[in-house]
């Protein structure tokens, strides 16, 4: 409180006062007729602005509630993303589970037969590929 009173009663030294008076005199110097001309210049500029083609004012829809719409959009995007990825994971897990279950339930003999058959097929395909390449190179 005392500080406030001190601020209010802040006295200015004589030296500063003299300097401030000189400063005011200097800044109050204007060319003769300046303010009359200023008035004319301003009115001219205003008229010129009035005649210039006005830029179309862009009015956005729902501009008053923009921030709420943005917030709602963000929440919706997050929720959608969460649901999508959550479901995708479940699907993958389900598929993986189904596959695991199927493999687990298969008899060993069947698995062996499958592997052997496919090995054979792979070997035949590989040999065919080699022969074809050799034939091509010998030309």
């Amino acid at each position: 409180m005392n500080d406030m009173n001190d601020m209010e009663n802040e006295s200015i030294s004589k030296g500063l006062e003299e300097a401030l008076k000189s400063f005011e005199s200097k800044t109050k110097q204007v060319p003769v007729g300046y303010f009359n001309q200023f008035e004319l210049d301003i009115m001219q500029k205003i008229k010129a602005e009035g005649q210039a083609p006005q830029k179309a004012r862009i009015v956005t829809l729902f501009s008053d509630h923009k921030q709420y719409l943005v917030a709602a959009s963000v929440v919706l995007a997050i929720a959608t993303g969460f649901l999508f990825f959550n479901n995708t994971e479940k699907n993958i897990t389900s598929v993986a589970k189904i596959e695991m279950i199927e493999i687990e339930t298969l008899p060993n003999e069947l698995i062996e037969a499958y592997v052997n058959n496919n090995e054979l097929v792979a070997e035949v395909e590989w040999n065919t590929a080699i022969e074809t390449e050799a034939a091509f190179l010998s030309k």
Binding site: M7, E10, E18, A19, F23, T27, F38, I42, M43, K45
Partner: protein
């Protein structure tokens, strides 16, 4: 006619130009000199003052007269001046400092003004004040505005305005006392 009546005339669309011109005539000098004390250069003050009045023309339709017109006008002037000074800083133009340095160097100017040193010291001190403090000081010291009005113009509290004034006086006193 009072400012209030002129504003109503303007807002009603009755002789807008006439009403505006009257407001301009009543207030232009006071606003101009306040701006000039901030920027010192006449050309800069002229640019800012023009920007102020064009803004007034464009915004006066929406002025609700919740405060005095002069308060609102000086608020516009305050914003335009601070924007100008901020832009000038960004462009790294130090006209005031350069002019002061130049005035010290030029012998004809030195000879012409006997009180050059104290004036230059004061102008340097004023230039060193933060812009808001400077504006508050000018309004209080030269226009004798009360702190409530100054607070409305500068968007601060009464206490803030008083503190700004106090600090400005203190800094200028210290700088003037320096050799």
């Amino acid at each position: 006619m009072t400012d209030q009546a002129l504003i109503i005339q303007f807002q009603n669309g009755d002789s807008k130009e006439a009403a505006f011109t009257q407001l301009l005539k009543s207030h232009q000098a006071q606003v101009f000199f306040q701006i000039k004390k901030m920027v010192v250069e006449h050309a800069d003050a002229d640019d800012i003052a023009q920007a102020v009045w064009i803004k007034v023309w464009n915004k006066l339709d929406g002025f609700k007269q919740e405060s005095a017109f002069s308060t609102w006008l000086f608020r516009v002037a305050y914003n335009e001046t601070l924007n100008f000074l901020a832009q000038k800083k960004r462009l790294k133009l130090h006209h005031t400092q350069n002019e002061l340095d130049h005035s010290l160097e030029h012998p004809s100017i030195q000879n012409a003004l006997k009180e050059t040193t104290i004036q230059i010291k004061l102008e340097r001190a004023i230039a060193e004040l933060p812009e808001k403090q400077r504006f508050v000081f000018m309004l209080r010291y030269y226009e004798a505005y009360d702190y409530e009005k100054i607070a409305s113009i500068t968007g601060t509290t009464v206490g803030g305005a008083k503190a700004n004034y106090h600090q400005a006086v203190k800094k200028m006193t210290e700088l003037l006392q320096q050799a």
